[in-house]
């Protein structure tokens, strides 16, 4: 007899809490060991957004904040699948998106980077995977931006994502990077990921989804925690 249980975080690919080169982890990482608990219904359930009605332009960041024209920058289309570790696609799951504009500036009060805001770009959107676990959205390629971690620190171009999957154990917040970015080798956030996991965060240029005369295409797949069969405990 066996039952399906959700896998733990794969610590060979996920970053640790404490990663001192990323300085703000030092005072924010839990210092005591995590307490491992068995999954109950509390962990094996989670918010379901499958029937939420997204706005018509939520998946198009090039259109969802226009005021008086088109946003500036390089138009891109990003697509891929959301899988679980077992390779099964996850349908009707929410993908939330936020990013800087083409100049590397966020529309956020605490972002003091001296780069222009774009009146026609907010930089946030969301999409639901379809019945096949597929998603696609349009945006502007985000710019690199400086940050205060160390002298001359720059974040590589990246898009932020938030995903849920079937329950709270599969929750994932991550960032997608772009191929060939020379800043990746210097970025302590990216390098916080163990070497085995790093390539998984870099999107691939995808000529197949590139739209002629319109937008370059990138492919990025997400893999959330999956399940494995384990024997029933005999008490």
């Amino acid at each position: 007899m066996s039952q399906l249980v959700y896998n733990a975080f794969d610590r060979d690919v996920h970053p640790p809490y404490l990663s001192p080169d990323y300085k703000s982890t030092v005072l924010r990482a839990p210092s005591k060991p995590l307490v491992v608990i068995k999954h109950s219904l509390s962990e094996l359930t989670g918010p379901v957004f499958g029937d939420i009605h997204l706005g018509a332009l939520d998946h198009d960041l090039t259109k969802n904040a226009r005021k008086n024209g088109e946003p500036l920058g390089e138009r891109i289309v990003v697509h891929g699948y959301v899988y679980d570790e077992n390779g099964r696609t996850i349908p009707n799951t929410l993908v939330e998106i936020w990013q800087a504009n083409a100049a590397g500036r966020y529309v956020h009060k605490v972002d003091q980077h001296d780069a222009p805001l774009d009146p026609n770009f907010l930089g946030t959107g969301r999409v639901m995977t379809d019945a096949n676990g597929y998603y696609k959205f349009y945006t502007i390629k985000p710019g690199a931006y400086p940050w205060g971690n160390h002298y001359n620190a720059w974040r590589p171009n990246h898009i932020h994502f938030s995903l849920f999957g079937p329950n709270i154990t599969t929750r994932l917040v991550t960032q997608m990077y772009f191929p060939g970015d020379p800043l990746l080798q210097y970025d302590p956030i990216f390098l916080g990921v163990p070497p085995k996991g790093r390539d998984l965060l870099i999107s691939g240029f995808d000529l197949g989804i590139t739209e002629p005369d319109f937008a370059l295409g990138y492919r990025f797949d997400f893999v959330l925690r999956g399940q494995k069969a384990t024997p029933f405990e005999t008490v």
């Binding site: 924010r28 608990i37 109950s40």
Partner: protein, 172 residues
């Protein structure tokens, strides 16, 4: 397939994940009202602050709560309240799987490359808390970090990332 690695939510999640709370021009899918306190007579308010290892308030954390009993979810950032509190309006959940009433809590912030899970129990459920298998797995001297204190206006649940009162975080 290998799991996609986590990355920090960063300092700029507000307009993506909590836009209405931070007054951005984008509709929020999730807010801090698991119930509308005006039409729910049993509504309670839960608030708290998040502290770093120096005891300083963290003004850019995002807290999510999941009530598995009522299947309700909430999300709030610590950047809009004058005291950098998170605030949730909800009802005290019933028991699931024979456990004491609790909310699952997920903690995100700049400076955290992967989110942290904890639980919020209630101080006025002492009998149920004493029987709870998860609480009993936690060293007795740390259990109070998981228990929201009932006060006149609701419940207070502070989260300490480090230090003497470091919150118990779970590997789930």
């Amino acid at each position: 397939m290998l799991q996609t690695p986590s990355q920090t939510v960063g300092p700029y999640f507000a307009y993506g994940l909590t836009p209405e709370q931070y007054l951005y021009d984008f509709k929020s899918l999730v807010g801090n009202q698991l119930v509308n306190p005006l039409d729910e007579p049993e509504a309670i308010t839960i608030s708290g602050q998040v502290y770093d290892g120096n005891g300083n308030l963290i003004p850019d954390a995002m807290i999510e709560v999941w009530d598995a009993y009522n299947r309700r979810f909430g999300r709030f950032g610590t950047g809009t309240d004058a005291q950098n509190r998170f605030v949730f309006h909800t009802v005290k959940p019933g028991s699931v799987d024979g456990q004491a009433p609790h909310l699952s809590v997920i903690v995100f912030m700049r400076g955290q490359l992967i989110h942290a899970y904890t639980r919020l129990y209630f101080s006025d459920e002492a009998a149920a808390n004493a029987q709870d298998t998860v609480l009993n797995q936690v060293p007795a001297e740390r259990r109070s970090t998981l228990i929201a204190r009932q006060t006149g206006g609701g419940y207070v649940f502070d989260i300490h990332m480090q230090g003497e009162y470091e919150t118990v975080f779970f590997d789930i």
